[in-house]
Point group: C2
Chain length 320, copies 2
């Protein structure tokens, strides 16, 4: 008998895809034809222990809403609602449950949507399971696996704010003590408006979000597209907070997750159009590399290049 911790999450997801006969299961978000649109549907489960021991209940609620909305954002969708299931030990304080719901409500409201339903059941530990759904025109839909050789790899915002917040916590700062963009570790802002704006240009070949960090996301874009990529280290926009800490390293900027930016593959001739659309939402879109035929991912600096393996955090096994 094989156990999960011998194989890890990615192996298990592959097995489930084969069992279901559907390679798109395990993608960020399901998309189901509905007239001229797609219905988008996604779910993300989080346990307090693994995901955010430092958060307040309100930050837990915000976080689970945000990660689910981010999966709608990376498809270019308009969010239509969030379902929130809570597993709670029976000794949980009522105030904790109310904090969670308040956080989820606030995050949804910021993105023009709401908590539409949910379920509460008894469990051994606090688990928050969100499911978000949304809507996108079929012609605007941004798949994960559509990147083509020659496309520009483009990134919204900067990388490393969440990593910087994490370093601060390791150094003894408490959750409420986080300042500036480091607060995004606890309160990420999914790129819902930017995703919609980019999708409306109909110029984006592929898109995914950065929940597991840039390196994982580049692989998650390239694998289903059947392509490889070069990422230019000097071009990656690193957050000011991480630079101030003197920690603008590959490990922290590219390997650590939690920033919830969007990574897109865009044909060069249409990059300016997409960049303008995203800038219209107050966010910079930066070219950080390119897609190529050869199926490997490399990080390129001044005078060096190095293969990047598909590593990063993995459930049931831990870091890798």
């Amino acid at each position: 008998m094989t156990r999960l911790d011998e194989r890890g999450e990615r192996w298990m997801v592959g097995r489930i895809q084969r069992l279901l006969g559907d390679r798109t299961v395990g993608d960020d978000t399901a998309y189901i034809p509905w007239g001229r649109d797609y219905l988008l549907a996604t779910t993300d489960a989080t346990t307090i222990r693994t995901h955010y021991p430092w958060h307040s209940p309100e930050a837990w609620g915000w976080y689970v809403a945000a990660v689910n909305l981010s999966d709608i954002a990376c498809k270019g969708g308009e969010p239509l609602g969030l379902l929130l299931s809570l597993l709670l030990p029976r000794e949980t304080e009522v105030a904790t449950v109310e904090g969670i719901m308040r956080g989820a409500k606030r995050c949804c409201a910021r993105y023009g949507t709401k908590v539409a339903g949910g379920d509460t059941k008894e469990g051994r530990e606090i688990c928050l399971v969100g499911a978000a759904f949304g809507r996108v025109g079929r012609a605007e839909f941004m798949p994960r696996g559509g990147a083509r050789p020659g496309d520009i790899l483009a990134l919204t915002g900067t990388l490393g704010a969440a990593a910087s917040g994490y370093i601060a916590l390791q150094e003894g700062v408490t959750g409420p003590g986080l300042r500036g963009e480091e607060r995004r570790l606890l309160r990420p802002y999914p790129r819902v408006f930017e995703g919609r704006a980019a999708a409306r240009t109909r110029a984006v070949h592929a898109c995914t979000d950065l929940s597991d960090g840039l390196l994982a996301s580049v692989h998650q874009l390239c694998l289903p597209s059947g392509v490889g990529a070069e990422v230019m280290w000097e071009a990656v926009p690193v957050s000011a907070a991480l630079r101030r800490r003197g920690q603008a390293t590959e490990e922290w900027a590219l390997g650590f997750g939690g920033d919830f930016e969007l990574l897109m593959a865009v044909p060069p001739g249409r990059f300016d159009k997409v960049r303008r659309a995203v800038r219209g939402k107050g966010t910079r879109l930066t070219a950080i590399g390119s897609v190529r035929r050869e199926r490997k991912v490399e990080l390129v600096g001044r005078g060096w290049r190095r293969p990047l393996k598909y590593g990063g955090w993995e459930h049931f096994r831990g870091g890798g």
Copy 2:
């Protein structure tokens, strides 16, 4: 500080509704306008410990799919997909995960839909959280709170098969040893086809499913409708299995859940039309009582009548 086990699930759901400013949250299913249709979305969380210690992994998967599809069925919806989040201890056998997915896949396939996505995360105990979504024309939608005085209360199928299976288990029969309709305890059949057929008549004022037993469901239909009801004990169709066991009591037939039938409120003049539509799917629809203005629920027999309190199983507190 107040704890959940001092208040119970229903009290907490009421608090959450007020906090969200939305009385429809806590209903079976959210409904979101989409052109001339509603998008239906629902989530149900289950832990192995509370819900089905006797099941096989495949039966767990079937069960979580079934309870979610039942929430689509009671709105008259066509199911469009199921998301399935699994929380799993890291020592879980791979075969267990595959069994769960296979069961969910089979249940979805039976109802013309599929597992469209999901998430797997590490947790302290096995939890299965499903989210189902579906579609229904606005004119066909069956709300929970639309019952009107004078409506017939109508029930699909029979009550007590799951209760009878539960009694068998208490008497030492193992899960795989259950026979005939008692197997429905482990493998409920949500009334998806019957719900669609009833909805298409556009004659149903209100509908809910029976996950928590008939008594709870009558209250769940009456409360948001602002009405009361009489249930005729002699008219309730009790399953042959429960009768054979000599346990066709109110407690087992009306108080125990797990049958996943549909309870509808239908105006008398249109009852025959709805009954024919449901019979077209091979299922009997039985008139078991009536809706009335006075806001209390009573059980009526030959020569007696008794108020029925809103009791039944409640999470965080247990039975009551």
